[in-house]
Symmetry: C2
Subunit: 301 residues, 2 copies
């Protein structure tokens, strides 16, 4: 099947074609880039980035959001960013299995992205998968990250709305603030609201924003019982309505994020193609003191 | 203080100067590069990379190794790679606190690297910190990764010996093999050997290597009780003796890894410097359909 045909099938919402396109984005950057040129940036899907430390219950919240949006009749795409290593956690696997409760639902498409490496490949592929799901007619895309650090913050840069998931007992606001999470969220969720300290966490988050320019909503939610999920959906919907009414700022932010991530991916790709033989030759020169390591790196880059 | 003075103090083993150099490597790539040109690649320290999934007890093993090497009279440097986010885990913090049992020891230097982002910065800084510790006279450097995925595999590429830490119950050998861990280890440790399934894990690892070219040692260890740590040290010492006798292959491998990581870091740095304004302008062109996202990314990169 040529790329033109594949693009056309994806636009018709063909699930097999979509899956094929996603696999191409993950494994074959060159061909995927050709496919994506045909796909363009459809711009109909509203993208929600979901980040926060591991263990805060992001996947369970995603599950609740799928339910809520399906009730509204929306087609929901989910991109779950897993670390490359399949052995890093039964929890992650368990989460994915839980989500497959929606597996029989033709209006839900869940894709777990096993990264080809954090250094650019993941981010590039994530942007591309968003564009593919968008083209395939999904109204809303939930992009769930692992919550490991900087790379998450990069990944959510392509979203129209960023939801930061926290939980009681994570430590004081100063730590949350240090992690860079206070700058990126459009909605803050204190999940596991049944745990002690949830109210304190909310107060402490609000106090961080007080006096600042931004005052994003801070919501107590229990993904377990479903309490507070309706308010979370309301908060996201208020951003979604701005998006739907053609808000340029949101669209620009997302496209900008995608450009940066795609460029990063391309740079990494180019470096990976720099032959092993060349690195080996340079290493020999460094070992022989003919070349500084700094100059060798510059020659390789 | 100028870079020449700083380099000279580091070479004399001055701990404050070393700490200053490391901070420079983390925060100021440009100046650090100047410092590192003066430091060169000393090549006296033996670098052990320690990787494996989270929760397998890497930090406790590092603690045991510090004890063992200190008994041998070696000066030990430890680089613990933490994810950027300080809130990702009490466990990590707990590990670091545990290690500070060695804090009063002037012949041990422990540095936790809070990454400035996974995309290259961490790897670059790691190579540089190794060279700084090496210059400061540390005989052995333990480089402990977070165990999150591909970036770990890149980080340990700079080591002379790679120790992969696993534990019973991680799943079958096929999964371990998928994660790319079977290719990179020089020594395999099944930690938490008191847990059920430790023997099975060892058998299953050995069966993966059977018939292959490589047959790295597979050792049962309990970091908790200390059982098996002596055999682990023996296994590492046998590689260390090859290193000490001037083995070029080990040295080349490490320098090659450092060149690649330094080049990767430089490429990312360059991209980060591409002005935000430029990305914004390109995003507007993409939104206006004057430019494809692919071409915009190419222009940015």
């Amino acid at each position: 099947m040529d790329l033109r045909q594949l693009a056309s099938l994806i636009r018709k919402g063909d699930r097999v074609a979509l899956a094929k396109g996603i696999t191409m984005a993950e494994n074959d950057p060159g061909r995927a880039s050709g496919l994506l040129r045909r796909i363009g940036v459809p711009g109909n899907a509203f993208v929600v980035g979901i980040t926060g430390p591991p263990g805060t219950g992001k996947s369970s919240l995603v599950d609740r959001l799928i339910e809520a949006y399906r009730r509204e009749g929306l087609r929901v795409g989910v991109i779950a960013v897993d670390p490359s290593s399949p052995i890093t956690g039964g929890a992650l696997l368990g989460d994915r299995i839980r989500m497959t409760g929606h597996a029989g639902d033709r209006r839900v498409f869940i894709r777990s992205m096993a990264s080809r490496g954090w250094s650019g490949g993941l981010s590039r592929a994530t942007s591309q998968v968003i564009r593919l799901m968008d083209a395939a007619g999904f109204d809303l895309i939930l992009l769930e990250t692992v919550g490991i650090g900087q790379s998450d913050i990069e990944v959510v840069g392509v979203a129209h709305a960023v939801m930061v998931v926290l939980m009681p007992g994570l430590g004081d606001d100063i730590q949350v603030s240090k992690a860079g999470l206070m700058e990126i969220g459009d909605v803050y969720v204190v999940n596991k609201s049944d745990l002690e300290g949830a109210d304190n966490m909310v107060v402490s988050l609000l106090s961080v924003f007080r006096g600042g320019v931004r005052s994003p909503p801070v919501l107590k939610v229990s993904a377990l019982s479903g309490e507070g999920v309706d308010k979370l959906v309301d908060a996201l919907d208020s951003i979604r309505s701005r998006f739907s009414s053609g808000n340029l700022e949101l669209r620009l932010r997302s496209i900008k994020g995608m450009i940066v991530e795609t460029a990063r991916g391309a740079a990494m790709q180019k470096l990976a193609e720099a032959t092993d033989a060349k690195a080996e030759r340079l290493a020999k020169q460094v070992l022989g003191a003919e070349l500084t390591l700094e100059d060798a790196a510059a020659q390789l880059a």
